[in-house]
């Protein structure tokens, strides 16, 4: 896994072909899984399952195919910042959108869970 290039000056990791093939097989298996799960009635959990599998697939691609597992700290921070800002955009948008139906303020935070479930 930590095999270095033999050529001078290069600090780049050479990912073994076996790792790439394993990641590839995992991605294909997860695609089959997510497709299969979609045909099972899990109620609100269908969306959760689909998105969880998609996130796992994304992580596999990012860490191995995109070499982030072996990347410099600065690059990792830049990537994390990107996802953090995405999270801000989604969270703030939904916290507005999903709370517009509130009529009685005193129900307050107790409404958050049913409202989030409505999304699924």
């Amino acid at each position: 896994m930590s095999e270095h290039s033999e050529h001078g000056g290069s600090t780049e990791h050479v990912v073994p072909v076996s790792t790439y093939v394993s990641v590839f097989l995992a991605l294909i298996a997860l695609t089959a899984l997510t497709t299969g799960v979609a045909y099972m009635d899990l109620g609100q959990w269908n969306t959760v399952a689909a998105l969880t599998i998609a996130v796992i697939k994304m992580l596999l691609v990012v860490l191995f195919f995109m070499h982030v597992k072996y990347a410099a700290g600065l690059t990792r921070i830049a990537i994390l910042a990107g996802f953090f800002w995405l999270l801000i955009m989604i969270t703030l948008t939904l916290s507005d959108e999903l709370t517009r139906g509130w009529e009685i303020v005193s129900h307050g935070w107790g409404m958050i869970i049913p409202l989030m479930i409505r999304l699924l």
């Binding site: 000056g9 790439y20 590839f24 997510t34 497709t35 697939k57 994304m58 410099a72």
Partner: protein
Amino acid sequence: MSELAAHSAHPPGFAHQFETIAQQREAGKLGMWVFLVTEILFFGGMFTAYTVYRSLHLQAFVTGSHLLEVKFGATNTAVLIVSSLTMALAIRSAQTGKRKGQTIFWLILTMLLGATFLFLKFRFEWYHDYVDGIVPGVSWSYHGPYAPGAQLFMCFYFFMTGLHALHMVVGIGILTVLIIMTARNKFSSEYYAPLEISGLYWHFVDIVWIFLFPLLYLIGGRYLGS
């Protein structure tokens, strides 16, 4: 500069503002990732809008999702995953100093898989959507329940898959340039940054599809039957 000039054997492609080729490579990758972060937020804006409208018109979005065929979405997901593997192998063969023919082979295979994705998308999805009358504003003949909301869903579908396909077309253009550069011996095991950076782009476009597939095709209550 004088110190740099002393390195008589620095590899081709090494830019003079960098101390080492490794530093140049890191800078290039960071730059590409910063671009990809803007792409994350670009597609993220659409994913957010999709989520909001899905919550507002849930039944209509389920209806709309059933207008799509899972088999094509799943096949295209697999096609893109294979293309990500071949792209990674292309970079690896350049990185480990394999013959350029091997790098070119993997690059051409990646390009063909990208073209396969687009062919399936155009020929078996968009064209059929047009014929079946589920293209909003162009050809719309679906008047079943939740028709207006289903039209909204299809708008999202065409915008999201359309922008993704546009990225695929750009990716195929980039691959063409990479194949020419490899054939002209521009790369070595020391310098292959354009390959690696383009690989990041290609994998990113794959990731966008990894999210589009479940969001558009799968989460609309497929178990209910179509």
